[in-house]
């Protein structure tokens, strides 16, 4: 068992037994880590307010060499991102982002740039009044960092460059990117993209991450990018995200 100190962001925290918590963290140095925080519900000294979702913490972990649950020894606050809790839109869209990382980032496998993107997203979300745009934009970039970059610089099948003025291009989840109208004739399905959407997808995937928070979308584009993202994630996970299924119930 190795004792390690690292920064982390809390993804989820579930009560276990009378006083413990099982916590999922995304750590700066070890990727996604699931661990047991013994006595976390009672201890005001070792864990006070640090194991809430969206919280940025410093923590000490006892990492197991083989399979099994790690231990979270103690943690202290760096940033609580309190304003996320004060807005239902920020809370629910932020929860979707947490679940994407929880489901798609491999356990104990640090991915370069993911931690800094996660932190940047939380800083932006904490003061955002358009969490419904922020989430898909950051999540698409997140998927790219995780190795699921959709192919948007040409047709994913014939690889010919796309005429951006032509509106009859499609996004195919299974093929992993944009499909031109002639290639689409041979296959079923795919979402027709509105004019300008290719530019937006390309921009989201290439702009320096600091610029992601400033991307503005029309309501049609915002709905479309959400639709693309949901289909893409559902396809790769082969299941639906629980938090995404609740978006409609929250009416945000």
């Amino acid at each position: 068992m190795q004792i390690k100190k690292t920064e982390a962001i809390v993804i989820s925290s579930v009560d276990y037994g009378e006083s413990d918590r099982i916590v999922t963290l995304y750590t700066k140095d070890f990727g996604r880590v699931k661990g047991m925080a013994k006595g976390a519900r009672r201890s005001r000294k070792r864990f006070a307010n640090t194991l809430e979702p969206f919280t940025h913490i410093k923590t000490e972990l006892a990492l197991k060499a083989s399979s099994g649950l790690n231990w979270i020894n103690h943690s202290s606050l760096i940033n609580v991102f309190f304003d996320i809790r004060l807005d239902i839109g920020r809370f629910i869209y932020g929860s979707v982002f947490l679940e994407i990382i929880d489901q798609m980032a491999a356990e104990s496998h640090p991915v370069p740039h993911l931690f800094s993107l996660f932190l940047l997203y939380l800083h932006n979300l904490n003061k955002s009044n358009r969490p419904n745009t922020l989430m898909p934009v950051f999540a698409l970039r997140l998927l790219s960092i995780l190795g699921y970059t959709p192919y948007v610089s040409g047709c994913v099948i014939c690889e010919k460059p796309l005429n951006k003025k032509v509106s009859s291009v499609f996004f195919s989840y299974g093929d992993g990117g944009i499909v031109c109208s002639s290639c689409r004739r041979d296959r079923n399905g795919g979402l027709q993209l509105s004019a300008g959407m290719i530019n937006i997808l390309q921009y989201v995937l290439t702009v320096p991450t600091k610029g992601l928070g400033a991307i503005a979308l029309s309501s049609t584009q915002q709905k479309e990018i959400l639709f693309i993202l949901k289909g893409f994630i559902d396809y790769h996970l082969d299941k639906r995200l629980k938090s995404w299924e609740l978006l409609e119930q929250f009416k945000v």
Binding site: G17, A48, N49, E52, F82, R85, I88, S95, D102, S243
Partner: protein
């Protein structure tokens, strides 16, 4: 290999199904029951059957109760215009110990998107109907002061505000008998925000 007698093994298996009880603990409990008097064993068995047969949700506040409405909702000594919203029955009990004299509404959970718990999975719609039907002048939101509890309180307040009732949130801050030196920064911030004039 010969194991325990079938009736003892059946009891061990039944006890081992309880949360937090492994086979060894179940065996120890089974042996304890075996060694206790017949009256004690019968009392335990009757208590388990009794709770399953008689306990139901109160149709007004969703507290667990032997009767419908529960003794709190049926009492004429309690204020009908003040409803305190809590996540779980345990929270209701904690408030009862404080001497609160209003009535309650038990949500049976809090909003938790990552666990798939949304507004339709807890008793929020029933609360809205209750406030609509009146007479409720004040709704006190006493969900836990964590991320899920805060989001639940916020969501409920958004639904109830248009109905005209006064919506309040329980205060947060330093516990009585506490020491400022050992209070964490989030609690301290909330206590400064929630300060009151004396």
């Amino acid at each position: 290999m010969i194991g325990y007698a079938p009736s003892i093994q059946r009891l061990i298996n039944a006890l081992a199904r309880l949360p937090g009880i492994g086979e060894k603990t179940a065996t120890r409990l089974a042996m304890h029951i075996l060694n206790s008097s017949t009256d004690e064993a019968e009392n335990l068995a009757h208590s388990i059957i009794g709770v399953k047969k008689s306990i139901q949700f109160c149709s007004i506040c969703f507290n667990l109760s032997d009767s419908d409405p529960c003794s709190i909702c049926a009492s004429s000594d309690r204020r009908t215009d003040e409803v305190c919203v809590v996540e779980e029955v345990n929270d209701l009990m904690a408030l009862e110990r404080s001497g609160f004299k209003g009535r309650y509404h038990v949500l049976h959970g809090a909003l938790s998107p990552l666990q798939g718990i949304g507004p339709n999975d807890i008793r929020i719609n029933e609360l809205v109907e209750r406030v609509k039907d009146g007479p409720v002048n004040e709704v006190i939101l006493a969900t836990n002061p964590n991320t899920q509890g805060e989001a639940t309180a916020l969501y409920i307040s958004r639904l109830l505000k248009p109905l005209g009732a006064k919506i309040t949130r329980i205060a947060f801050g330093i516990p009585m008998g506490g020491d400022l030196e050992y209070v964490d920064e989030v609690t301290m911030l909330r206590s400064i925000e929630g300060r009151r004039e004396i």
